[in-house]
Amino acid sequence: MPRRDDLTTILVIGSGPIVIGQACEFDYSGTQACRVLRDDGYRVVLVNSNPATIMTDPDFADRTYIEPLTPEVLARIIERERPDAVLPTLGGQTGLNLAMALYEQGLIGRPGTPEMIGADAEAIATAEDRERFKEAMVEIGLDVPRSGIAHDVATAVAVADDVGLPVIIRPAYILGGRGTGIAVTTDEVVRLAAIGLAASPIGEILVEESIAGWKEFELEVMRDRADNCVVVCSIENVDPMGVHTGDSITVAPAQTLTDVEYQQMRDDAFACIRRVGVETGGSNVQFALDPVTGRQVIIEMNPRVSRSSALASKATGFPIAKIAARLAVGYTLDEIQNDVTGVTPACFEPTIDYVVTKVPRWAFEKLPGTSGVLGTQMQSVGEVMAIGRTFPESLQKALRSLEQGRAGLNCDAAERQLAARVTDELLVAVATPTPDRIFQLGELLRRGVTVDDLNAACRIDAWFLDQLLAIVEERGALEEHSGPDELATREWRRAKRLGFSDVQLAHLWSVSEVAVRTARQACGVEPTYKTVDTCAPSSPPRRRTTTRRGRTRARSVRRTARASSFSARAPTASARASSSTTAASTPASPCARPASRRS
């Protein structure tokens, strides 16, 4: 099914200003969409109120409207530009809500008006209305948390009694979990229901069995018009349920699922996207897994490109938004090329041989009066991502990427603040999710608190805690040396593989960062950079194309993303070969070279 020729002009709705829960990831997705739609010859009309976006650079659309994102304004633009279709799934919740408002007013999605491509009103309503979503999921046999819907406080209390406290209260049609909270007592139900009802544009809340403490997973799913489905990436939240996924430290791919569990989740995610009826494009499906009983429930799905899609795209090299835009205009997954390999189709599931860690960044210090406690309502203002060959390496890199004065998982000047606190107090503290919890866990492990005790306290999976312990134990081993000159190549490499920065090592030995670097480089330990190739280098590299053929085709030049991973240049045979990998400045590898040609 090739490109649709019955469409000429497509209206792309942007996501408006950066707010908590909706950052520049939708600039990224919208920009990709504008690019590919224009490359495919469509006339693109873009509307977004946010000037601080790439997509509103006038080069990215045929008509760029920096205008308020209200139904009235959109109606004027539709009247002026007469688009054949509206693409609402790349502008975050704002784009989706606006499209629904336009649909309600009869301006789009009806005969004689612009068509809604990507997801239609029915699909959006099914995914966004929690009660409808739950019914739909039960209908196809998926397990969901027990819940009920309320339009007033009294009903909310009755539902809470029914499903059992604690309950989680979520308003319908909201951005990034705003107005959501967990109530442990009936008094809290009353208070949070009132806030939730006020936050919901339609005055509706869902009162739901709390599954706080369960493990949380997300799958990024794509579907095309021919009903082909693929999972782009699985994501595991380090912080268990109870912390908004936007406020959780997350890891891709999922680390603690057996194949049986993962495939069940994959089947359920496909069943979900099909039932909801997202005809083409990407969706984010969230699951919770009870670590004790193994019960797995579906939490929610976003029938659109989401924050996690940006992360998944960059973690795997699979450009979800770009492909979603092309699927929306009729292509099928097998007709679209994998950008990174340049030769294989986009109809595949990336496999990666590294670990990606995302850590949110908060700004509580600017908001005096806030508690700094994380919950089901998203509060972070941004995030960082780091790639490492292992979780410890990527976590430490991500923590120093935050630019909040930390050099990794402790082992820096800022850890002094933790040193002053007694163990019992810290053990209590880690039960509450906060931005500092990860550092507190590191400190407690250093003091000898066991993984099992910490797991009981914070319910973070023991595997993750044991990985933190690996970092902490390595620090102990490094501390047995008195300075950087004592380390052998093998020890340098081990420290670097666990993500220790020169700054951390300098702190450990009270020497300068330069002294550490000099000693390390004297041992020949330098980073190598590995390519994000979508396929865990399972196929040979294609010759790097450097020919540029005209402006639009310039993008055929190979783009690669890389992440460092330490190894030593000398003196062993393996180290030498690793460094040659570096020097070769490897281009991305196609997932498949026709094997038959070689045989």
Partner: protein, 410 residues
């Protein structure tokens, strides 16, 4: 088919216990390839040296299923996914009665597993089945190397024994020209399933338990050794004959190919998976070729040419049916979208079809499970006992040695 005894699998650590502390240093180890390339790491698993053909698998979940897949007989498996052993091991996820691979190479073996399904840790499992391994290896570099040179013989052993390990790698013949099927096939016929209306005779070239579970939903499955003559199969009065997956080069199995040729003449529906598919291709007169480094992963897109649908498949093979060689006798039904390799065929003049990938998916995506329904449909229309619905539970007598999966069968 015997099951590993629980007492042996439930190793000393019990579920979710730390298996190694940082202070417990593992012995330094090396992996040497036949071309002399050396990788450093630390030894895990059984404390023996081992040699085999080094291959890689890119699946991100399912290491236990992969390690216990008989198709890996004679091979040393490299996992591209860096963290291996995270969720431990359990009884349900075994694909065979023991491990058949020769060794395992990982980037980072989990220090402690964490999963409610876990009944032991991977390191202990490797020791239990005498499989050595190495962790801390730059698996990306190794994978790139295999990708460039193809599967290559190699050896794992202690770092202080470079000369011996290097010699072992050089002496290792790999899998070319070696009959590996005879090392993995069952010695005696056995039966699984029982309630369903159909009788399926399954050739065991290295059959996986997940396949047996799917076949058992169709009825009684009589598993027979690879060397079983066609007449013995026909004598069992099957509604369908299944040709299993297995290790190595199909060209080395003239016996089974001859048996299949005979069976094709009977009109009994035949279904082959992986090696079974390749043998079917040869029985139809086609050729098989060795791929550069094969397909080993859980993310290969395959198009079903009969419906146009695309399925993401689990694959593990080094050989394939040469597309041109079956022209006229069979139709190409499935093709690998990455590289055009033949993924499925249907005979024109015989009631037989096969697929190169693994529709049973243990591990891997479930997209291709419909193929068992196609087998069912062929058995039904060939006048099998009666039509049945598929997808029911495996209630009733559990077949011996078939651990009950917790979810997701069917």
């Amino acid at each position: 088919m015997s099951d590993p005894k629980r007492s042996e699998l439930l190793v000393a650590t019990g579920p979710n216990q730390p298996v190694a502390t940082s202070r417990m240093r593992r012995a330094d180890g090396i992996l040497v390839l036949a071309d002399g390339t050396l990788f450093e790491g630390e030894l895990i698993g059984a404390s023996t040296a081992a040699a085999g053909e080094v291959v890689f698998n890119t699946a991100m979940t399912g290491y236990q299923e992969i390690l216990s897949d008989p198709s890996y007989a004679g091979q040393i498996i490299t996992f591209t996914t860096p963290h291996i052993g995270n969720y431990g091991v359990n009884l349900a996820d075994f694909e065979a009665r023991r491990l058949f691979c020769r060794g395992v190479v990982v980037r980072e073996l989990a220090r402690r597993p964490s999963s409610r399904r876990s009944t032991g840790d991977l390191d202990s499992l490797l020791r239990r089945y005498d499989v050595p391994g190495i962790t801390g290896v730059d698996t990306r570099r190794l994978t790139r190397l295999i990708r460039e040179t193809g599967a290559i013989p190699g050896a794992i052993g202690p770092a202080d024994d470079v000369a011996r390990i290097t010699a072992a790698a050089a002496d290792e013949p790999g899998t070319d020209g070696i009959d590996l099927v005879s090392t993995v096939t069952t010695a005696e016929p056995y039966t699984v399933g029982g309630d369903g209306p159909f009788r399926v005779v399954a050739y065991d070239f290295g059959i996986k338990r997940t396949i047996l579970r799917h076949l058992a939903e169709l009825g009684v499955v009589e598993v027979v050794p690879a060397s079983t003559p066609a007449a013995d199969v026909v004598a069992r009065r099957p509604d369908g004959v299944f040709l299993s997956n297995g290790p190595g080069d199909p060209a080395l199995l003239p016996g089974p190919v001859a048996a299949i040729q005979e069976l094709l003449g009977t009109g009994i529906p035949v279904f082959g998976i992986c090696l079974g598919h390749q043998l079917l291709g040869r029985a139809l007169g086609g050729d098989t070729v060795k791929l550069a480094f094969g397909h080993h992963g859980a993310n290969h897109p395959v198009k079903d040419l009969t419906t146009g649908a695309i399925e993401i498949t689990s694959q593990n093979h080094n050989f394939a049916v040469a597309v041109g060689s079956i022209a006229g006798v069979a139709d190409l039904t499935h093709v690998n979208l990455n590289d055009g390799v033949c993924e499925g065929l249907a005979a024109r003049d015989a009631n037989a079809f096969g697929v190169q990938h693994h529709p049973e998916a243990g591990p891997g995506p479930h997209d291709s499970r419909y193929l068992f329904h196609r087998f069912l449909a062929r058995m039904t229309s060939a006048g099998g006992r009666s039509a049945v619905t598929v997808g029911g539970s495996m209630s009733g007598d559990e077949p011996v040695g078939l651990p009950v999966p917790e979810r997701g069968v069917g």
